[in-house]
Amino acid sequence: MADPLLHVEKLVRRFGGILATDHVSLDVAQGELHAIIGPNGAGKTTLISQLTGHLAPHSGSVFLGGRDITGLPAYRRSALGLARSFQITSLLPDFTAADNVALAAQAHHGHSFRFWGNARKEKALRDAAQAALDRVGLGGRADLLVSRLSHGEQRELELAVALATRPQLLLLDEPMAGLGVTESARMVKLLQELRREVTIVLVEHDMEAVFALADRISVLVYGRVIASGEPQAIRQNEEVKRAYLGDQHVVVKHG
């Protein structure tokens, strides 16, 4: 493999006595869709939060495009091309869908210490927002307040916001969480299109989706990566089977 876009080295994070991230090492190649699966409480969101800079690791390092970003705050990582969606929808509820996306575009389009001009009339930002909304199928809902959107639409908006930052690497934390069957299918289709444009790290419970989408899969159990490889290999892996069928309950096909 050429130089990986994302390189994680022996990452450790404790919460009290619990090792939530236990020496995790991970490589994600440019253009790859890398899924991270694991039972509840395996430390998936904790891992994502350390990649995005919302949580500081106790040791280990994270490299993006060969650059050490371990100590950088979230906003700097965003500037370097890292975008995330949140497991629990995290938007600006009292803003319109278009405003949410336009703000993401604004963050990457010149500085924002501008106090005079009307930002909602900046064509470049509005066009970028509309393009991202169209991309996820929310083009017609641009002027609705986020609090008026359905849960499924909010999940799609999360994705549009991430896309509007023009990321190199997209970290998606359970984008299907709480979606119905048809909504999930739409999301899978959307991700299938997006993967051609951007490298994706996908944390997901929906095994059907994961095996349909992923180039490679890493399995996280109790904070450790117990297996990493192509979907076929992971399916056959004895340790993975044990982890899922042993003391941990089956999460296959679990919303």
């Binding site: 995005t52 919302h54 705050p73 979230a74 906003y75 965003s78 500037a79 975008a83 995330r84 949140f86 995290s90 938007l91 600006l92 509820p93 009292d94 803003f95 405003d99 703000l103 993401a104 604004q106 963050a107 990457h108 924002s112 210490f113 501008r114 106090f115 005079w116 001009g117 009307n118 930002a119 909602r120 900046e122 916001v161 509007a164 930052t165």
Partner: protein, 315 residues
């Protein structure tokens, strides 16, 4: 889809028209007192509007906003005492001093969140209060009399009641216009976004603290202007203008009028100070009536008076 005329717009227009025409009424009836009263109301409305920028739009609950009233006031008073009477010096110094104080206090306070932020801004304002009380050369506890109002070289005469009133009103409208531009600008959207969801804003690439600090400084500087006007209005400045209850008054005006609305603080200041004036003429226990009244408005009129008017519209 443009609504015809909302109740909110009508009430706002009436209040603005009333404020503009007040000196005419005062002159026609010979009622000088009403002009003096409203000069004070307009100045405190300016202070409330500045607090609204950071509290209503920025989501930063500062409980120490009255400190800037004192800093602006003392800048005028101290310079006057030292023989520098020019408003062209006094006012810029008042603004610069307020901005500097805001920069330092903001940088420290913004390291905290929620209740701690409220408490630390309160603590710093109380510190400013005690520092002013200790300024023996400038009157200490008793305050400082400003014997001569700021001199603007014949451009405008602050000792003329009507001219001074219009200066204050002009400052108020100017500041509200500025806030309107800011709120809709790139910067304003970022600040409001931070109020709504800071984590999300960080994730899409905004360094939160920097924007909040700049908002803090802008609001403080605007309030410093109100302080400089207030000292001219009362010909006096004392530590009492910085006392924490004064910060509370400003907060009540903003909440009463409607947080995060352009004219809410103005309406809040007018209603609050008029009520205070009227009730205190009826009984010395006016606070007993005022308290429950405010409570009712805040409890039943979410979004303050502006919120109430907004709901009236929808029938």
């Amino acid at each position: 889809m443009k609504a015809p005329l909302s109740v909110r717009t009508i009430v706002t227009a009436l209040v603005v028209a009333g404020l503009v025409l007040l000196p005419v009424y005062s002159a026609a009836t010979g009622n000088v007192f009403v002009l003096t009263l409203f000069t004070r109301i307009v100045i405190l409305a300016l202070a409330a509007a500045s607090l609204n920028l950071m509290m209503g739009y920025g989501g930063m609950m500062s409980f120490g906003h009255a400190a800037y009233l004192g800093i602006g006031g003392y800048a005028v008073g101290m310079l006057a005492q030292e023989g520098i009477g020019s408003g062209f010096v006094q006012f810029p110094v008042a603004l610069a001093a307020s901005a500097t104080y805001a920069l330092v206090i903001g940088a420290l306070s913004l390291r905290t969140r929620g209740v701690y932020f409220i408490m630390i801004t309160l603590a710093f304002a109380q510190m400013a209060y005690y520092v002013a009380s200790g300024l023996a050369r400038y009157g200490g506890d008793d305050g400082l009399t400003v014997y001569k109002r700021s001199d603007f070289a014949g451009l405008i005469n602050l000792s003329n009641r009507v001219q001074f009133y219009y200066l204050c009103l002009g400052c108020l409208f100017g500041v509200i216009f500025l806030i309107w531009r800011i709120v809709n600008s790139r910067f304003g959207l970022v600040v409001q976004g931070l109020r709504s969801n800071e984590q999300r804003m960080q994730a899409i690439g905004f360094p939160a603290k920097r924007y909040q600090l700049v908002c803090f400084v802008i609001a403080g500087t605007m309030c410093g202007l109100a302080g400089a006007l207030l000292a001219n209005n009362t010909d006096f400045v004392s530590p009492a203008v910085m006392y924490w209850t004064r910060s509370g008054d400003l907060m009540v005006m903003v909440i009463l009028g409607g947080m995060g609305t352009l004219f809410g603080p103005v309406i809040g200041a007018v209603v609050y100070l008029l009520l205070e004036e009227l009730l205190s003429q009826i009984t010395e226990y006016w606070a007993l009536i005022m308290g429950p009244l405010l409570l009712l408005i805040v409890l039943f009129g979410r979004g303050g008076i502006m919120g109430l008017l907004g709901r009236l519209n929808r029938g």
